[in-house]
């Protein structure tokens, strides 16, 4: 007779296997809730398995110096380094720090842009998580005239 706990554990393992079987190249493609619930840059990065963090000149964050409308702030992250697994875009002072995660494959360049909402003026981060678990980041300050959250 199996206890409920064992059954749950097994089904979790099975779900993990199924997820990785469906996406051999993107093994982590299940939605990372912990990362998106994180309140700090460090926590969000850790949720993606990073073990150490360091600032790097080879990671670039692009964005405006002053954003008039916080609901639409164009942000971009890129890196020239080989061996990048994921590129994260984060806004430090948002209710949830993480904006978007891009899984880098051999077929795409590690250069992504999107538009984000920003509640207030804040530092924005680009974090590149390398295959060896190192997280390399760059930051930039963006001043927001009109906030894009709440209202």
């Amino acid at each position: 007779m199996q206890s409920r706990r064992e059954t749950l554990k097994q089904s979790a393992v099975l779900a993990g296997l199924l997820a990785s079987a469906g996406f051999p190249q993107f093994a982590l493609a299940a939605f990372n809730k912990a990362g998106f619930d994180a309140k700090t840059v460090a926590d969000a990065t850790k949720a993606y398995g990073a073990t150490s963090m360091a600032e790097s000149k080879d990671v670039t964050i692009t964005g405006p110096d002053i954003a008039e409308n916080g609901a639409v702030v164009p942000l971009g992250a890129s890196t020239t380094l080989p061996g990048v697994k994921q590129l994260l875009i984060l806004v430090e002072k948002n209710p949830s720090t993480l904006v978007a995660t891009f899984y880098v494959s051999d077929a795409v360049e590690a250069n992504f842009s999107t538009r984000a909402k920003m509640g207030q003026s804040s530092d924005v981060y680009a974090v590149a998580i390398m295959a060896d678990g190192k997280a390399l980041w760059a930051k930039k300050e963006v001043k927001v005239t009109l906030g894009g959250c709440g209202g």
Binding site: Y103, A107, F112, R115
Partner: protein, 103 residues
Amino acid sequence: MADPMRIRAQAAGGKATVRVLMSHEMESGQRKDAAGKTVPAWFIQEVTANLNGKQVLAAEWGPAVSKNPFMQFTIKGAKAGDKVAVTWKDNKGDTRTDEATVS
């Protein structure tokens, strides 16, 4: 069903720049309606892109991505005539796929 995405893929120098404009409310879960109740979050969670049927990109988004999201990325080795398909899935389980040809 959501409105179609606008996808533009342009090849230059052995790679293709893909720009995608999706149509989605991207409700953050932070806003309150006139009655003071929080509007539940409704946002695109997963985005994937395929080149000629082979997956090249996966992304996870949070509610902090703007309404009617824009995304730009570059596919190496894509040439004119290749098919780029982009799929999104939101936190209510809605999904949409649109395809464009690299020009």
